[in-house]
């Protein structure tokens, strides 16, 4: 194993390029590594002592993290955090274990069980895939006929994971949700994501606006990142109409552009991530 550090990424977008440049400016021996070209033996030392895992594919990110940790490397985020964040139900369980407020959530193990459960759960309800981002395949079930149609489609999908149904309470919110970027246990930037759609994902066209990080928001976001053991986290929260903050999910491979736009020059998110990586590198992850 060398003392070098690696950044795993198969799609070098603007965020990752800024992180790479910030690491290089610190004089660190950093390698850009494309996970699509990696293969690992089950034995042997890791090629790098410290790895920043920015892989966009959750499957590749999880297995690379586990393999590199088993081979002796330190990985940011750690494999356990990547596992939990890559699965919305595991995230919900971790948040509940630590007492982090979340919307009411249920996992049904079949589409039929979900349809029965919805009678008790109530409408409207949000249905989400266990894996995935950017609001894809997230639906709002307003009444039983719509639920039946969506669940029939889910049952027809070949992937068994599609038959596990994650249902979440629909929270009436003030036309926005909140993304907090937590780095090294510190909430360093927050953005309102404003949308006319009930989904507030930037990938779906939501606009970002500056969001002050008050004590309650800081507490909820840092508690959520801690619950999933993530050093780098994008925590999504929603406000009830009475102001109560609920954590929706935690992203392990946080995209920076929206929060950076909202924060302006007040913070350099890529630079802050590079500083955390440098700190870990210099404190012994080599």
């Amino acid at each position: 194993m060398t003392a070098d550090l690696a950044v795993l990424t198969s799609r070098l977008g603007a965020d990752d390029k800024r992180i790479l440049i910030a690491l290089e400016r610190r004089g660190l021996p950093v390698h850009q590594v494309d996970p699509r070209r990696l293969a690992f033996a089950a034995t042997g030392a890791a090629p790098w002592s410290l790895v920043l895992n920015r892989e966009i594919s959750a499957s590749r990110a999880r297995h690379a993290a586990h393999t590199l940790e088993a081979a002796g490397a330190t990985v940011l985020n750690c494999a356990a955090a990547t596992d939990v964040c890559a699965d919305k139900w595991l995230t919900t369980l971790a948040l509940r274990r630590d007492g982090v407020p979340t919307p009411r959530t249920t996992l049904a193990l079949t589409p039929d069980a979900a349809l029965d459960e919805l009678d008790r759960f109530g409408y409207p309800a949000v249905i989400k895939p266990l894996t995935g981002s950017w609001g894809r395949q997230v639906g709002l079930l307003r009444e039983p006929d719509a639920a039946r149609a969506v669940l029939e489609h889910r049952a027809a999908l070949p992937n068994p994971e599609a038959h596990l149904i994650y249902l979440q309470e629909y929270v009436e919110k003030p036309g926005r949700d909140i993304r907090v970027v937590v780095i090294g246990g510190r909430p360093v930037a927050a953005a309102y994501r404003v949308s006319r759609d009930w989904r507030c994902n930037v990938a779906l066209g939501a606009e970002t606006r500056p969001c002050p990080i008050g004590p309650e928001l800081a507490k909820a976001a840092t508690a959520a990142a801690r619950a999933v053991d993530a050093d780098l986290a994008g925590v999504d929260l929603v406000e009830r109409e009475d102001g109560e903050l609920l954590v929706l999910e935690v992203n392990h491979n946080v995209e920076l552009a929206g929060a950076q736009r909202a924060a302006g020059d007040s913070v350099d998110l890529a630079g802050t991530i590079a500083a955390l990586v440098a700190d870990r590198y210099e404190s012994g992850a080599r």
Binding site: T9, S10, R11, L12, G13, K17, L20, I21, E24, Q32, D34, I56, S57, A58, S59, A86, T131, G132, S133, W134, R136, N159, G234, N251, H252, N253, V254, E255
Partner: protein, 59 residues
Amino acid sequence: MVTACPECESPVDAPAAAAGALRLSELLECPGCRSELEVIALTPVTLALAPDPEEDWGE
């Protein structure tokens, strides 16, 4: 340097590969057809259509 979009052949102005201004796997957008392009080689600069998103992609 200028290279051609593999989809529509419009000229794509890529940063110089020297001094790390352009990197492997970097994503560029074609100004002609708006395709997302990936840098698959630096010498010479070679672009390919970026892969379509997969089900497990995300944050």
